[in-house]
Symmetry: none
Subunit: 233 residues, 4 copies
Amino acid sequence: MTASYAAGTPWPRRPPGPNRADERYAQIYETAARLFYEKGYSRTSLQDLANAVGLQKGSLYHYIDSKEDLLFGITEYAHNFFLQLLEGVDEENLSPLAKLERMLRLHAEFAAAHFHVTAAFYNDRSALSEERQERVVQTRDAYEARLRQLVRDGQAAGEVAADVDPRMAVFGVLGMINWINQWYRPEGRMSPQEIATVFATLSVRALRPVCTCTDGDGGRQAPSSAKASPAAP
Amino acid sequence: MTASYAAGTPWPRRPPGPNRADERYAQIYETAARLFYEKGYSRTSLQDLANAVGLQKGSLYHYIDSKEDLLFGITEYAHNFFLQLLEGVDEENLSPLAKLERMLRLHAEFAAAHFHVTAAFYNDRSALSEERQERVVQTRDAYEARLRQLVRDGQAAGEVAADVDPRMAVFGVLGMINWINQWYRPEGRMSPQEIATVFATLSVRALRPVCTCTDGDGGRQAPSSAKASPAAP
Amino acid sequence: MTASYAAGTPWPRRPPGPNRADERYAQIYETAARLFYEKGYSRTSLQDLANAVGLQKGSLYHYIDSKEDLLFGITEYAHNFFLQLLEGVDEENLSPLAKLERMLRLHAEFAAAHFHVTAAFYNDRSALSEERQERVVQTRDAYEARLRQLVRDGQAAGEVAADVDPRMAVFGVLGMINWINQWYRPEGRMSPQEIATVFATLSVRALRPVCTCTDGDGGRQAPSSAKASPAAP
Amino acid sequence: MTASYAAGTPWPRRPPGPNRADERYAQIYETAARLFYEKGYSRTSLQDLANAVGLQKGSLYHYIDSKEDLLFGITEYAHNFFLQLLEGVDEENLSPLAKLERMLRLHAEFAAAHFHVTAAFYNDRSALSEERQERVVQTRDAYEARLRQLVRDGQAAGEVAADVDPRMAVFGVLGMINWINQWYRPEGRMSPQEIATVFATLSVRALRPVCTCTDGDGGRQAPSSAKASPAAP
DNA sequence: GATGAATGAGGTTTCATTCAT
DNA sequence: GATGAATGAAACCTCATTCAT
């Protein structure tokens, strides 16, 4: 797997061969992703979509069988990304934390580059059929399990602080990344790759063992630590 | 402001005086928050809500004027929390990073304790009227600005690594926290306070200056740093 | 079972208790039965029905959950009739042919008195869900099997001509009766009971052993018989 | 008219001359008849038909001008049969009851051999234009009138029981025959001709004068007669 | 306070039909 | 002859909301 995720045309096509209608498919799915991002899946009507692509409402049904197909097609894009990510990363010969960092970087880059897609993936999953939700959830769970394992491996290797709770740590770094679609704008200052680097770095810093030396007070003055008792009830 | 956020009955009441119907208001708003969380605001019908509280659909209109009122009431709960958080934290005499850590801890505790509320706040904001959205966004922006300022202050004080981008850092820690509603379950192993402590700690560790000493390998093995060139195109 | 089939209000009611909306239910189902009879189920729109009962299209959904419910409710009327008919007739102490005649008479009377219902039952069954179709078909088959058995019993008792094929005979008499809805009009000359008597009599005459005596020419001039060779290919 | 009805290619053709596309016409009309039989005219879409014949929906319009054309073409097949039947039977020199038996036999044979056609003819007539319906109804009425006249002639000749109501008798025998499409299957035990013979025989037996002699108990034990008072309320 | 009938706008979907290619 | 994109009307259905009781 390369650093960038760019499957050719990710959207479903009905006729298998090359087809001059492929542009329409892409146009429809891309517009749908944008509208779902802007208003939410349920608040986007097919009338909205038809208007945006310049078709009649009914004409959309040449390209889809149901509105849910649109959402599913979009979530499949993300789903397939995670599947590839799961397969790809183990091929490389890296330390656990390096692997983790690599996965998070790729994930974050994808989350920014395809923020419409990840927004649909996370916000409107409940609009998919039970069956389809389960598929998505299974892959998501496998992905999270892989990340947790890397954290544990990193702890065994001394790369990750022993007091880190792998579950919490993974929830935390995923939150950072999956939150990107809430604020990212393509016209913004930073590219998806730059954002990915920043977040991968922040994640690694959060996980690494706490420095205990004295030449610098970074570690000492941390105003509280994981051992700190929780705030008063 | 105390460590825990617990405004008495946060839900709106139409008749201003005390009223034996207050329970109904609370029941309706709490049930709505749960349903919105489970299915999304738009996919939850007032019939669903009426069924869940044991009323007829029409009877709900004794308690609300519109469906949006429910969503607004719920988001107001979060909104008011942020307003209080903004006011409260400066009263304390703490270093910037300590203040930041305190805000994040309170925020995270709220995010877990009221995960239904924060989910509605972030996922269904686009269903509010323009006017109401703007109000919410303004407060959110003020909150984020305050956090960024604390990061910058921390950098000035040497508590926060100089190479941290305040915008990215704040987006990152907010993502961690606002993601809590995606995985938190009240019946889970950790209490909101414990979760809050963990995330506050992780955040602080991510922000603090990188340790450069040699007595310990925490710093050396960081597999990449913020200066690392982004992944290849 | 009495000779006439008159269950009080045959149409479904949602709230179980007595209800002032029962009239509406009856009005809607009766109008639906009439419209389905006139134009067929598929060619009758809910708009047609709404217009006919003076409601808005959407208001019909207070009384039904789907258009198919209307068809199902109507076919249930016939379905229940056949179930009662199956149970009821054996209680009487009659000869096989007398029982058969009694069932056919009751069936024919029902077919005329409720010609809207039987028309829907037979013409639009394919619009019901698979599940519901199967239910109906099972009962229909049980009913036909009972009639065939009565024909066979009649043959054993010498009441029915031995050369009669029970399957064909039952198909024939059912055809007679189920065809009633094609021509019956309530304002016509004959009442359902009169029609039922005529058809029961015709059926019995068709089944009885052929007379072979000579005092009368009834038997002799039958222009062909079951033994006649089929028409030329 | 021969005993079997087999007009060469009954389906309409647009280009009047002979044409290698005739097979397509036949295929389309026959498939349509089958589909209409299985699901009803209104519930069969042109997409269903196109799929079944291996064409695209739009391509059907090379062969038809409208969906109704298909139904009309099919009903015309039956319509023409009845016209031929009306013309043909009087040429023969037979007694009234023999003529009647002959017509019913031919009708029944047609009804079985072309059960798809007769099903469409009777079930979906209401989907034709007013004009076309009227044409069909006129022919049907003429046909029924001819049958009634034969019954009356048979009564005058003493071949048919005097107490038979010609209208009812004709409705009855037509019901038997027109019901055939509800149960006939080509792979069944009996051929259309055998079925036709059975039903013609049953009809004749039902109509003939009741035997009043004593050598045999066929007549005496008829459990009720046309004079019997109708069943109790 | 509560009901439930009724509304009316708008949602997703189907489908016969047209037409440029 | 055949395609398949596109249309537009109309279908079934949902639902927030109103209101007389």
